[in-house]
Every structure is written in structure tokens, then in C-alpha cells.
Symmetry: C2
Subunit: 183 residues, 2 copies
């Protein structure tokens, strides 16, 4: 699912050239930014290729994963599934989006909505046996693909990468400052 980023990244010398015209352009920052988005886009596309073999989009896969995790976590009692609101929060999408995803998953028989008897505003979403079977059959290939994608990096390099990414991730929200939040 392309972010519509430039597919061919500019060479560093071009960035240096462009920096002459745009004093705000920081070549090393720009290069890191472009490579980050480009690489993750490519990785994402590879994963989607695998999921597509199972007729599953990345969004639907995320929901199934969350439900599978919840199914593991219960173990003890007959805890119902997760609510659409919980799923939406965990996945970082709007509730209306989750409604649509659950709609199609339910249509395909992979999940089921169950009313909550205590609070009639709430629903529980649970994996059906078919959904559970599907996700269990996908996981091994999914993990293999992750491993293959990261194979060019040593374990040490992966740690370095995670550390660098984490610095950026933690700091990103600070860049959201609106120009004039009246404060």
C-alpha cells in the first residue's frame, strides 16, 4: 500500500544541490527521512504480498492478530472477545473503520459479533474457528518472511536499528506542535 512516496530516491548530491536553493533543507535529515519511509513502504508491500495469498489485507490481518492474542490471554475463564473500541484503539484507527473491518471479516466468517449481556451498548468480537484456523496457518509464514526481510542485518545491527528508530519514534510527537496553540 504505497504511501505515494517517490519510488526512486534522490542521490545525496542532488540533495546537496537542492539545499543551495532551499536553506531549510538538511540533506542528512532528508536522506534519513526518505530512506525510512521508502524502506518501510517496501517491507510493507512484501508483507502484503504474503497476506494477499490468503485474501487478507493488512488491516484485516491486524484485527485477526489482536483477536488471536486476546484468545490466548483468556485461557482461564470464558472471557468474551474484545470490543470494537478496544480493537480500534489498539490498531490506531477510527471506530468507524473498525466497524467496516469487522463487517467484512464477519461476512467472510472469520469473526463473530456477540452482544454483551451486561451493557447492551457493547459488542464483543471473537474469532470463529475458521478465523482461528486461518490465523494459525498464516503465522509461521509471516514470521518466516519477517526473518527473511531482516536477514541482511546481523542481530547486532538490528539492535542498532531499533535503537535509532526508537529515538525518532519517541521524539516524533513533539514535532506535531501546531503553529499557534494559543499557549
Amino acid at each position: 500500500m504505497p504511501l505515494l512516496l517517490l519510488k526512486d530516491l534522490p542521490r545525496y548530491e542532488c540533495l546537496l544541490e537542492a539545499a543551495k536553493e532551499f536553506p531549510d533543507l538538511d540533506p542528512s535529515a532528508c536522506e534519513a527521512y526518505l530512506n525510512l519511509l521508502r524502506t518501510s513502504d517496501e517491507v510493507h508491500a512484501v508483507i502484503e504480498g504474503l497476506l494477499a495469498e490468503y485474501q487478507i489485507s493488512s488491516g484485516r490481518f491486524g484485527v485477526l492478530m489482536l483477536l488471536g492474542r486476546a484468545a490466548n490471554a483468556r485461557a482461564c475463564g470464558p472471557v468474551g472477545g474484545s470490543t470494537p473500541a478496544e480493537l480500534a484503539d489498539a490498531a490506531g484507527v477510527a471506530r468507524a473503520t473498525m466497524t467496516g473491518l469487522v463487517d467484512t471479516l464477519e461476512r467472510d466468517g472469520l469473526v463473530r459479533r456477540e452482544p454483551n449481556l451486561e451493557d447492551r451498548r457493547m459488542m464483543s468480537v471473537v474469532l470463529t474457528p475458521a478465523g482461528n484456523t486461518l490465523i494459525r496457518s498464516m503465522l509461521p509464514k509471516h514470521f518466516q518472511l519477517m526473518a527473511a526481510l531482516m536477514q541482511p542485518l546481523t542481530v547486532e545491527e538490528r539492535k542498532t536499528l531499533v535503537g535509532l528508530l526508537h529515538k525518532v519514534l519517541r521524539h516524533a510527537p513533539d514535532c506535531n506542535r501546531r503553529p499557534s496553540p494559543s499557549a
Copy 2:
């Protein structure tokens, strides 16, 4: 534009735990994979926040950037703009998608379609003055935001990051092998 990835990444110990159940799960690969997608998602969201102030989606911005670049490159002669096919290729989207993007950009007066006199199948897409003004006014803030996003990394760290990402990027296409390409 969320990829519907889990918003809260699992802790490393959880990955180790899960690896007991799924022998294919490589914890360090999984961690790197999740952090890569999560971070780029966050960075992308920050950038979209800026673009939204200009009523521009990430897709539309990409098109305007490509056209702006083309406008710079001509310089010498009255070279027409780019064709929709070139734009789609450069942006990595389907041609139909580019048709839709150009539609809305043209509707908003930011680009213009011009017929190609030599080959009547082809169109040229060019920035209008309004489009050019818009993109020129956005670029400085866009560059500032890139710099802010990468501010937590030193120049040295950025080089390291780019190097690691590049290894993954180059290798990613090899992971696309379909199970049985009959070869």
C-alpha cells in the same frame, strides 16, 4: 495514514515468550520489523499533519513535488510537463490512481492537463501558477519538519540508519519469491 499496525509494540520479553510457541519467530527480526513500520507510520502521520494545513494529502503532495521537479529540470526549452504514466511510475501507484489524483488536483486548479500534439494518446500534466505557488510555500516548512523529525539523531547516526535501511531495502525484493514460480 495508519497501516493498521499494532500501536503499542510488544516488549522484547513477550517476543521471546511467543517464540517458544512459534519456532519460526525470530525475536530480533520481529522487533526490527515492528519498529521499522511503527516508526515510519508515526513519521508519516506527522508529515500528513503539516500537509493537512494546506488541504493536501500525501498523494497529492507527491504529484506536486514530481511536477515541481520536472518544472525545474526543463529550464532550457518549453518542455511540456510529465505524462500521467510517468507520474504513476515515479510515484509507484497504478495509472488509474494517478488519473484520480490529477482529477482532483485539476479540479482545485493546481495542475492542468494539456494534450500532446505529437501523440494524441498522451497528455501532459503541468503545474498551474497556483500550484507552483502552493508547493513553493510548503517546501520550507516541509524541510523544517524533516529536520525536526531527525533532530534526535546525529549526522553520524543518520548515516548509520540509512546504511541499515538500505541493506533491507535492496534485499526486500528477493523476499517476494512466490512459493512455486515453476523454476
